[in-house]
């Protein structure tokens, strides 16, 4: 097992280098210049422009800039934002917990709803219930996040007044960040009502961000279940007289889960992409919105650093998913 982990970790190194290369060069390939964007309509004199280029180190040859970046990176220095002048790592660490909190809730929502929905659709194959679930899933998958988010806000916050419009917690509370996760921090604080406020603020963004993964999981679960339900061992289990629940819940589901888990792993990347829009709609102080703003401002250090951190996290999650196969299906563990 340890050898397997090491081997997988070794494979991550070229990916890591690749990410530094692409994030570094792609943002520079985009037209536009951070200094000109900072100056805006007023413009900047050629002398001043040169001064700033030197100050930011953009006058050096591009390969030298890359090597400097890489050198700093290995010392744990991701650089400082051109716009806010704050260290990128510090900005990332302040914003990241909010994204994780929302991402985890959205994923839980997607799994808790999507998995049973897929199973039910498979078991009731061809019946009205199956068609309903699958049509809803298709609709969910096709839903533009921005429109979906605004729709829910207008309905539940504007018209019905059931949920708050946006933010992480009511302005009545100020919760000092201890872990950065609002649900945990509100529990740790003695503020009565703060936890409830944090939960109510999570509901809509969770649904919006979780919708696409939910649809994917439901569809994937259904097809995986359909495949295993026809397998001999399922028929054998039924022949042994096991209850329907045991047959589906244990014999079939455990085997059907393998492709589903792969999909869940892959959805982590999708979640980050969805977080960008969801965070913008719900004023959620996470890394998604931060990255988009930085791309528009050509804030090179933030784009490079942020992309790299996100890529590393996605790689680690996928590594964990890879290792989990073994736990679910011993056959994979042995062939590795």
């Amino acid at each position: 097992m340890l050898r397997l982990i090491l081997k997988k970790l070794g494979l991550l190194i070229p990916t890591f280098i690749g990410v530094t290369l692409t994030s570094f060069f792609f943002i520079r390939l985009l037209p536009g210049d951070p200094i000109l964007l900072l100056a805006g309509e007023r413009g900047v004199s050629p002398e001043r422009y040169n001064e700033l280029m030197i100050q930011f180190g953009y006058n050096d040859p591009i390969w030298q800039q890359y090597l400097t970046y890489l050198g700093n990176l290995f010392q744990g220095d991701l650089g400082a934002s051109i716009v806010t002048k704050q260290p990128v790592l510090q900005e990332f660490m302040t914003l990241f917990p909010a994204t994780v909190e929302l991402g985890v809730c959205a994923m839980l929502f997607a799994v808790i709803v999507g998995l049973p929905a897929g199973i039910i659709a498979a078991v009731k194959r061809g019946k009205t219930l199956d068609h309903t679930v699958m049509t809803t899933a298709l609709a969910g998958y096709s839903m533009p996040i921005f429109w979906w988010g605004l729709l829910l806000i207008i309905l539940f916050s504007g018209m019905l007044g059931w949920t708050p419009v946006s933010g992480r917690i009511s302005f009545m509370y100020w919760i000092e960040p201890v872990t950065g996760f609002m649900l945990i921090d509100t529990l740790l604080s003695d503020e009565p009502g703060a936890f409830g406020s944090a939960v109510s603020h999570l509901i809509l963004p969770t649904i919006v961000l979780g919708t696409i993964p939910l649809a994917v999981i439901a569809r994937q679960t259904r097809s995986a279940m359909l495949e295993v339900l026809d397998e001999d061992y399922v028929r054998t289990a039924r022949a042994k007289g096991l209850s329907n629940f045991r047959v589906i819940g244990i014999h079939a589901l455990r085997n059907a889960l393998i492709p589903v888990i792969t999909i869940i792993g892959l959805q982590i990347g999708v979640l980050f992409a969805g977080a960008i829009l969801t965070e913008s709609i719900f004023s959620w102080p996470g890394v998604g919105k931060w990255m988009v703003d930085s791309i528009f401002r050509r804030d090179y250090p933030v784009v490079q650093g942020g992309l790299l951190m996100i890529a590393v996290i996605v790689m680690i999650v996928n590594l964990i998913v890879d290792l989990m196969y073994g736990l679910i299906n011993p056959k994979i563990r042995h062939t590795e």
């Binding site: 985009l30 037209p31 536009g32 210049d33 951070p34 000109l36 964007l37 900072l38 100056a39 805006g40 309509e41 007023r42 413009g43 900047v44 004199s45 001043r48 700033l52 100050q55 400082a80 051109i82 716009v83 806010t84 002048k85 704050q86 900005e91 302040t94 914003l95 605004l150 806000i153 207008i154 916050s157 504007g158 007044g161 708050p164 419009v165 946006s166 933010g167 992480r168 302005f171 009545m172 509370y173 100020w174 000092e176 960040p177 503020e191 913008s280 709609i281 719900f282 004023s283 959620w284 102080p285 996470g286 919105k289 931060w290 703003d293 050509r298």
Partner: protein
């Protein structure tokens, strides 16, 4: 007490004050559009940052009366200008207290040292704070202060003299700008071992003091109890950072905020019908225009430029692009600005006459480019649409238009190039209410290759602007600027298109809130009923 702990202590006190308390504290929530870049105004250039830093936390020597561009004494009670216009002596206000916060307790009042520190930091590379927070001081440089200020002298604790290298009458207006906010020299000395925190945990003299800030979420302020001009009527001020305009509107409707920034033009009509919302409107201090490249044929001929201007149906642009929320522009400065010349007659919309004029000048089968900005601005909410309308107008007089656009940074760069082709859509929002900030920045010979996108250098116009800059007599300056506007109209380097109307929806509970012509959001003096 460590900084972090003291901040924690301060915020819990604040939270207690907001949440509990038998006497309901008045808390105003402002749905702002984004996070400030930091809290030291001189380091940054955006209105979002100034709203959160210079306006609530700091004061300047002189300031704008809320809702106007009139200048009044603030930290300076009075000032004199020498005969030659090169020496400005400021007499400072006494008894002004810096904020007592959980991270700093001042031991002395505001004095001349603070003024000197605030400017020295920006202008002197040897100042220990000059390079802190990546110090680039864009506004200080843009207003040309490095070459303008010769020295700043402390005459005594409450008298400061600015010595300039040349007479510059917009100087006082410059000093009312955000970058000229006065910071505490005593606090700076105390933070020598942790200089970055100086820019993140501000200590000012302003009407509100910072309590806590969480990026992309909230900024919390409490009213400065010792404010020199009297404590603000509200007790707490919260910025709920809400980037999406539709969501800000929903929050206003749901009562989650009292004032919202930058509404969607499409929502205005609905807002005006909502009994719980007051929709404030005011003419913005801006101009949207199209700059010909006056160095290239046929646009080097003023008659051709005027003929083209006559082909543009500006009212149609106001209706379609501004949804009626604007007015046709005839001068390069907005009507709310002093020295606006209302005598100037705009070129009439007359496609037939325009076509004849073009033919008289030998311009037939002209094809040209119109540059459309890729971004939305108050002075031009939809440049693409505007370009399309002009394209159709020009087609009517036989001019073929190709619309082009670039990414914003590239657009800014390429449009400044003296060899650029065609005409570029652009605009400007005033920084300080001085006409020189429009006429000098955008149309002087000095600006060619930079902010002067028409690449227009007219000696007669330039002399008037230069004379006005050196005169400290407002009447004389007014006369000079009025004359300059006549020359501008005659020479037509731009098609002046529109001045927009700024709208701000507020809750009916909010009293005394005024739209700021410079686009800032100021909550001093505002009350909640």
């Amino acid at each position: 007490m460590s900084l972090k702990k003291s901040l924690l202590f301060g915020t819990s006190l604040f939270a207690a004050a907001v949440v509990a308390g038998p006497v309901m504290a008045k808390t105003l929530v402002y749905c702002s559009e984004g996070s400030p870049e930091g809290f030291t105004p001189s380091l940054y250039t955006t209105g979002t940052t100034f709203d959160a830093s210079s306006i609530p936390v700091y004061n300047r020597l002189v300031e704008f009366v809320p809702g106007t561009t009139d200048i009044v004494p603030a930290l300076a009670e009075s000032w004199e200008v020498s005969e030659d216009g090169k020496e400005y002596t400021f007499h400072l206000r006494q008894g002004v207290k810096f904020h007592t916060t959980s991270w700093f307790t001042p031991t002395r009042d505001f004095n001349a040292d603070d003024v000197i520190f605030s400017f020295d930091r920006q202008g002197n590379p040897q100042n220990p704070y000059h390079n802190v927070s990546g110090g680039t001081y864009e506004y200080y440089n843009a207003m040309d202060l490095p070459t303008l200020i010769d020295s700043i002298e402390k005459i005594d604790d409450y008298t400061v003299k600015f010595i300039l290298t040349r007479p510059e009458s917009p100087m006082i207006a410059n000093l009312a700008m955000d970058f000229a906010s006065i910071q505490s020299a005593e606090y700076a000395d105390a933070m020598m071992n942790n200089k970055n925190a100086f820019d993140q945990q501000p200590v000012g003299t302003g009407p509100f003091q910072l309590v806590a800030y969480r990026r992309d979420a909230q900024i919390r302020y409490t009213a400065n109890p010792d404010y020199w001009d009297g404590k603000a009527p509200i007790d707490n001020l919260i910025f709920a950072i809400t980037p999406d305009a539709s969501v800000r509107y929903q929050k206003l409707v749901a009562g989650e905020c009292h004032v919202m920034a930058f509404p969607n033009p499409a929502d205005l009509e609905e807002m005006s019908r909502d009994p719980n919302i007051t929709l404030l409107q005011q003419e913005g201090l801006n101009v949207g225009y199209m700059a010909y490249n006056t160095t290239q044929t046929p646009f080097d001929n003023p008659k051709v430029r005027t003929a083209l201007n006559m082909a543009i149906n500006k009212q149609a642009i106001i209706d379609a692009v501004f949804q009626g929320e604007g007015q046709v522009a005839k001068n390069p400065i907005p009507p709310t600005m002093w020295s606006y010349n209302n005598e100037v007659v705009d070129d009439p919309y007359d496609p037939d006459a325009a076509r004849t004029m073009l033919e008289e000048e030998g311009v037939t089968n002209l094809s040209m480019k119109i540059w459309a900005m890729p971004v939305q601005r108050p002075y031009n909410p939809n440049a693409r649409r505007m370009a399309e309308i002009i394209q159709a107008d020009f087609a009517r007089v036989g001019v073929d238009v190709d619309i082009i656009t670039y990414e914003w940074g590239e657009y800014l760069q390429r449009s400044s190039d003296p060899n650029r082709d065609g005409a570029a859509l652009f605009g400007w929002t005033g920084d300080n209410g001085d006409p020189d900030n429009f006429l000098g920045v955008l149309l002087s010979c000095e600006g060619v290759g930079g902010a002067n996108r028409a690449q227009w250098c007219n000696e007669e116009f330039d002399n008037l602007i230069e004379q006005a800059r050196q005169s400290s007599d407002v009447d004389e300056r007014t006369r000079l600027y009025e004359e300059a506007q006549v020359i501008f109209k005659r020479e037509a380097p731009w098609a002046t298109i529109a001045h927009s109307i700024v709208s701000e929806p507020i809750s009916v509970r909010v009293e005394n809130y005024k739209i700021d012509p410079l686009g800032k959001h100021n909550f001093y003096g505002v009350d909640l009923n």
